[in-house]
Subunit: 329 residues, 2 copies
C-alpha cells in the first residue's frame, strides 16, 4: 500500500491511542517509527506497531508515562523513561543536551527504565543537523556472549555517531555489534534454511549452520573478540552507568509477556568548536571531502538520508500485511 | 637481559637525555614505555626508544616542549602537546580531567600536535583506578581506507575504555580497528612469508597474500565495513575535534624524517555515580561477576595487569639487541 508520511503517522497514532497510549507519546512513537520506515529500516519501523500496542495493553510498557529529567551535575542529565517508550525520552534529551553541550562543551544523558531504542542514527543525526557531534549507545535483549563464553550477556548493543559536514548532510554511523542482524537468522529459521557458519554459535559456543541452534545460542560479534569487547563497553555505558537493567535482565521487545524491559541508553554530545577550536567545522568538511574523493566510497548515512528524501517526496510503500495488522489492533 | 623496572626506566631516561630531551619529559616517556613493556606490549615499549631518540635529535619531536592546557569551557580542556611526546600531555590530563569529571559529571580532553599515544590501556586505566570511567581514542599514521576505497585515510585508530570494578582490577579494553597489527605484516615481509588473505588489501583494494603488496595497500578493518566506520568515528574525534592533523597528513612514528606527526588524541571521562546514581559502582561489580561466571571468559585487561604484577616483582626480560641499541644511542 502507498502512504504519505503523514498518513502513516496518523495510522500509528490511531492504533496506539486505541491501545491506551497517551496522545503525545503516541505522536512521538509514530514519528520515530515512520522515520525509521522512511530511512529504509523497516525492521525498526511499522512492523513494530503490533508489539508496541500489545505491550501498552498488557502494561509491559506504560503508555501514559512521561519521562522525568534530573540534572545532578552541570554536564549530566539522568532521564527516567518510567517504563514508557524510549522516543519521548529522546525528544526530551535533544534540546536539553544541545543547550548543555553549547554551554559546557560536552554533555551526557543517561536514560533508564527505557524501551526499544529504534534507529539510533535518527537520534544522533538531530544533533549533527544543529552542528553538534553525538555518540549514542544502547543495550538490548541479551543475544551475545563475552568472547570465549556461551551465556548470552550482551545485546547486539549498537553504537551510533553523527558529525556535521558544512553545506552537506551529516556523517551518520549506526552499527550493531553482532556480525549480522538477528532477524536474518529468524528469517532463515522460518524458511527452514541453513545459515553461514560465521553468523552464530550454538548453546555450547560452537559455530553452527543450523538456524534453530543459532537462536538457542549466541550471535557472533562483528570483528570477533574486538566486537565482543566493544559490546561490553556499550553494556557498561548503557546499563550500570545509566542505572538501567543489564541486557541479560531485560525482557523481549517482541511480545507482551513479563516485566518491562527496563533497557538503558546513553547519549554524549560534544560542541566541536569547544574541543577542536574555530576550525573544527571546516576540518570536518575537509575530512569528508578527502574520504569521498576515493571512488567506491560513500559517506556513512547517505543511504538512509536519500531514502528519507525520496519518501518525503513520494511517500512510502508498505506491505499490505503490515497495514492490515495495524488496522486490526 | 634481565632488568628491574627502575633500571629499565633509568636506561631510557639516560638515552633520551643524551638526545636532548628535557629530564621531566624523559621521565614521563620512560615510565610509559617501561609500563608498556611490563604489560607485555613490547611493540609500544623499549623497541621505540631508538626512534624516539632519533626524532628528538632531528627535531621531529620537541624534547623540551611542555604541554599547554587551555580550558575554554567548563567540561573541556584543550591540550597543545607542542610537538613534544604524548605522555607528558597524558600525565597533565589525568589529574585535571579527574577533578573536572567529579565536578561536572563528564569531562573531555582534546590533545593536539601530539605524538605516538602508546598503550592507551595504561592511560584509561589510571582513571578507572580512581573510580572513574574513561574512553580514549587516537589517530595514527594512515594505513586503512574507508570501506570500499583504496586510499589510506585512517590509522589503525585505537579505542580504549576502562571501568572500575569494586575490590578488583578495572575492566580495560584496548583495541586497534585493523584486523591485525601492521607489525605482523612487517614481520612477514622480513621473513619473506605470505600472509592470510583477510589481513590486507593491495593498492587496488583487492585482498592480497603478498606482504609487500599489503604494505603498499591498506589494512583490513576489524569487522570489515563496521570497523572502517568506527575508524572514521575515531578519526573525527581525534583530528578535527581535537584540532590535530588527520592520519593522512601525519608523518611516520618510526623514522626521524619530515615534519612532526601532529597526531591527536581524545579522552572522555565520566563519573559513574553522576550518570548512574549511587548504585553504579555495585552494578559494575555485578556485571563483572556475571561475565566472569561463564567458563572460558576472561575480563579484558587481565593479561596486561597480571604481566605488570609479575614484572613489578620479578623484573623484565628484554632482548639483548634492544638493550644494545638503546646503549648505543
Amino acid at each position: 500500500m502507498h502512504l504519505t508520511l503523514a498518513a502513516a503517522e496518523a495510522l500509528v497514532i490511531d492504533a496506539l491511542k486505541r491501545s491506551g497510549v497517551e496522545e503525545g507519546n503516541a505522536r512521538a512513537v509514530a514519528r520515530a517509527l515512520v522515520a525509521a520506515e522512511a530511512a529504509g529500516q523497516g525492521g525498526h519501523g511499522l512492523r513494530r506497531v503490533v508489539a508496541y500496542a500489545a505491550q501498552a495493553k498488557s502494561g509491559k510498557v506504560d503508555g501514559i508515562a512521561k519521562p522525568i529529567v534530573f540534572q545532578p551535575f552541570p554536564s549530566i542529565i539522568q532521564i527516567d523513561a518510567c517504563h514508557g517508550y524510549a522516543y519521548p525520552a529522546f525528544d526530551l534529551a535533544v534540546p536539553l543536551l544541545s543547550e548543555m553541550a553549547r554551554k559546557q562543551g560536552i554533555a551526557l544523558a543517561a536514560i533508564r527504565r527505557s524501551h526499544h531504542a529504534g534507529v539510533l542514527a535518527l537520534t544522533v543525526e538531530r544533533f549533527a543537523e544543529a552542528g553538534l557531534v553525538a555518540l549514542m549507545v544502547a543495550n538490548a535483549t541479551a543475544s551475545m556472549a563475552a568472547w570465549g563464553g556461551r551465556k548470552p550477556v550482551f545485546g547486539t548493543n549498537p553504537i551510533a555517531f553523527a558529525a556535521p559536514v558544512p553545506a552537506d548532510d551529516p556523517i551518520v554511523i549506526d552499527l550493531a555489534l553482532s556480525r549480522v542482524a538477528r532477524g536474518k537468522i529468524m528469517a532463515a529459521r522460518q524458511k527452514g534454511a541453513s545459515i553461514p557458519a560465521d553468523w552464530a554459535f550454538d548453546r555450547d559456543g560452537q559455530p553452527t549452520t543450523d538456524a534453530v541452534a543459532a537462536l538457542e545460542g549466541t550471535m557472533v560479534p562483528s570483528g570477533e573478540a574486538k566486537g565482543a569487547a566493544l559490546a561490553m563497553m556499550v553494556e557498561i555505558l548503557a546499563a550500570p552507568l545509566a542505572g538501567a537493567n543489564f541486557s541479560f535482565e531485560s525482557t523481549s521487545l517482541f511480545d507482551d509477556q513479563g516485566a518491562a524491559p527496563g533497557l538503558g541508553q546513553m547519549l554524549i554530545v560534544i560542541n566541536p568548536e569547544a574541543s577542536g577550536g574555530s576550525f573544527a567545522a571546516s576540518r570536518l568538511g575537509e575530512l569528508a571531502a578527502e574520504i569521498s574523493s576515493d571512488p567506491g566510497v560513500r559517506l556513512p548515512g547517505r543511504r538512509g538520508q536519500n531514502a528519507r528524501k525520496y519518501a518525503l517526496e513520494h511517500g512510502l510503500e508498505v506491505e499490505d500485511d503490515v497495514i492490515d495488522a495495524i488496522l486490526a489492533i
